[in-house]
Amino acid sequence: MSSLVRVPILRHGMTKWDRELLPQSEVDARIARLRAAMQAEKLDALLVYGDMWHSGGLAYVTNFHPFDARMPGFAVLTPTLLEAVLKVSSRDLTFISPFIWAPAQPSDFLANDLAGQVEDIIMREGLQTKRVGFAGAALMPPALAAAIKPIFPNGTIPADALLNALRAQKTSAERAILRLAATKGEAAIAEIAAHVAPGVNETELAAFADYAARKAGAQDVEFLMHTQGDRMPATGNTSSFPFRPHTERALERGEHVGVYLTLQFHGYWTELSQSVYAGTPSAQQRAVYDSCIAAFDQQLEGTKPAGAVAVWTHGIGLDREEGDASVTAALHVAAERNGERAFYGRTIAREPAGNTILTASLAKSA
């Protein structure tokens, strides 16, 4: 299924492993859960691939978030070993090491021997003919896939489901980070709404949105928008996406702008959408916005929203992957009536007792 995917030139926002937010004991428990899952599947080892496009699995196991498209990496996990091979220079590894929890060896991207270094570990640990689970195998570029395949004469066992199932269940520490990320997103959206005014051009608005997120400590940011001529999403079509990059057009007085902000904090993404107005919204605009909020609340409570609205959700985790399996998800609602449009979306937690929004208070006013 297609979706929004924008990979920046460089993931260059604040980089940190905050040991108060994610202590070593939390990491140890995570690795223990992985090993228990491996044992349940009778796996002798787990191999995890990640790159800048698909960084979640590798980051979950190592806390390495590939920050350059040329820098994929692998993690090897056995009952007694956790080791990473990262396609970064030794100079970069010096910088990265304090932020990752797996011992790692660099693989210079000019030497291009990532597969050979993985093979060395597999051979050293005697794993080449053992039951090795592989998460991310389908994500590798073709030449790398061709180089990895012969390492395992008996093949590997797909382990994406194993890893994803664990990633989807957020611990209390992870939920705390997600709430923090959501709070930062909420504050940024409020700043963005205050910045919108007639005459402000879209470039300026996007720059300010990026600024609001980065100065709050975002590791990565994406800001998109929707104005009157843009296409509305279709209800139930989770691949439909109504937002676009900015242009250089200036906003007009009274204009409605749907804004979409997603930011990554400490490895965890949060996602928000909202209507903002260049000036005071009209009564009709307020009415549509109110209906959008009501639909969001109904959707959150699990009842079918009324009115001409589109609702779309997708999972949100270390990757912005789609699907409803995730414990956290982005829930967005779009409404349209008599040509007026409105948006509202937030990151929510799916709990057995019902869905909850990940911020303490909702900035629902237009």
């Binding site: 297609s2 979706s3 929004l4 995917v5 924008r6 990979v7 920046p8 030139i9 460089l10 993931r11 260059h12 926002g13 604040m14 980089t15 940190k16 790159d51 800048m52 496009w53 698909h54 920050f67 498209a69 220079s89 030794s90 100079r91 970069d92 010096t94 910088f95 990265i96 210079d108 000019l110 195998a137 389908a138 994500l139 590798m140 570029p141 073709p142 030449a143 790398l144 896939a145 470039t203 300026e204 996007a206 720059a207 300010f208 990026d210 600024y211 980065r214 100065k215 400590g217 998109l224 843009d230 296409r231 999403p233 691949s239 439909s240 996406f241 109504p242 676009r244 990059p245 250089e248």
Partner: protein, 382 residues
């Protein structure tokens, strides 16, 4: 102290339009290398990891999972986008006349590659699932044409050069803006946010931006929450991109929080001399490796030759996006008029750590055009 404000239109120093005529110029360059390589149909592919092949040929910025341009040797090129919801925007932004939605890009790609003498770019930037489907639909192996495209894009058109000049102006102005905002105790990431705000407000769409602060820096890395302290050296490698990564301009500079030591100034003079020695020989026909050795020889002459190789150093500069040239010691390529690149003798010194100095240039018929307007000095915040 003077106050630097963000110019309202910082990056828009020229009225640059990427229209169909500009794309025709790029297509003509590609077709020339296609003929040289015996290619009748070129499929230019972009995944999210490498969005610039399609941007170069279609002026469309990918925001989904994939897109491609089918460029025949003769006839109209077609842009295929992988997201139906982005089709309307693609038709708005791309000057190409034929823009379509294709739900299965891999199958289409393979079908196109069944054409005699066809080839594809950026195959290695896809994933293995996509690649297998392409191979299967193509009925065999896939010919990689990334080098064909790289050769076509190595020298920049006048419009591309104008965009790179805009990016360079943004690098200068955002650097000065952040220097003005720099304050003791400010975390690194907040200073970077200020810099990036200036950059993006002026029209940058992204930034290949490294920045590190410390008393003895070993490399330029990603920003952290480390507070900037008195006596820190701040080293920057910032790279605003106008419209797309292909039109990036890098600036490398060093700031000092407080007065810089005489040792720092002395070492900075060495890399300034190295930069000037490198630029001195820039002209069409100069070998890239000579441009590297011109810089290294200055640094070696001062006794730091051991620090001119890995793990301390990798390259003495490079281009951006497609057609990039790495200023690496073994690169025997000749410089050509119209190439754009950063020349950076960034250098680690055992006493003062890593210092940054580098400037963006465009190679001209007789030498080079300096795109950086900043002084070659350590910017001291006193």
């Amino acid at each position: 102290m003077t106050t630097t404000t963000i110019p309202a239109n910082a990056g828009r120093t020229t009225a640059v339009t990427v229209d169909r005529a500009e794309l025709d110029r790029r297509h003509a360059a590609i077709r020339k290398t296609m003929v040289e390589d015996g290619i009748d149909l070129l499929v230019l592919y972009s995944s999210p990891l490498r969005n610039y092949d399609v941007h170069f040929a279609a002026h469309y910025d990918l925001i989904g999972c994939g897109a491609l341009v089918a460029l025949p040797l003769d006839g109209e090129p077609t842009l295929y986008v992988g997201e139906e919801w982005d089709l309307e925007r693609a038709r708005r932004v791309s000057p190409l006349r034929d823009v379509r939605y294709e739900p299965n890009l891999a199958a289409l790609c393979g079908k196109l590659l069944r054409t005699k003498n066809s080839a594809m770019t950026a195959f290695e930037w896809s994933d293995s699932t996509f690649a297998e489907e392409v191979r299967s639909a193509a009925g065999g192996s896939v010919r990689d044409a990334s080098p064909t495209l790289d050769r076509a894009a190595r020298t920049k058109t006048p419009v591309e050069q104008a965009l790179i000049r805009e990016a360079a102006a943004l690098a200068d102005s955002s650097f000065l803006y952040s220097f003005d905002k720099l304050a003791e105790g400010m975390p690194e990431y907040q200073l970077q946010a200020e810099m990036e705000y200036a950059m993006r407000k002026g029209g940058a769409v992204d930034n290949f931006g490294f920045f590190t602060s410390g008393k003895h820096n070993r490399a330029i890395g990603l920003v952290t929450d480390k507070p900037i302290e008195n006596g820190d050296l701040l080293i920057f490698e910032i790279t605003p991109a106008r419209l797309n990564r292909n039109y990036s301009a890098q600036l490398c500079r060093t700031m000092s929080m407080g007065a810089a030591s005489s040792a720092v100034k002395e070492k900075f003079k060495i890399i300034t001399e190295a930069l000037e020695a490198g630029l001195e020989i820039v002209k069409p026909g100069t070998l890239v490796c000579d441009l590297v050795s011109a810089q290294d020889s200055v640094i070696s002459r001062y006794g730091f030759g051991d620090y001119c190789k890995p793990p301390y150093m990798r390259a003495r500069g490079h281009g951006f996006g497609i057609g990039r040239t790495d200023l690496a010691p073994k690169n025997k390529r000749q410089l050509e008029a119209g190439m754009a690149m950063i020349v950076h003798p960034n250098q680690y010194f055992p006493d003062v750590g890593y210092l940054a100095l580098g400037e963006m240039i465009i190679v001209t018929d007789t030498g080079y055009e300096r795109l950086c307007g900043l002084d070659r000095k350590v910017y001291e915040k006193v």
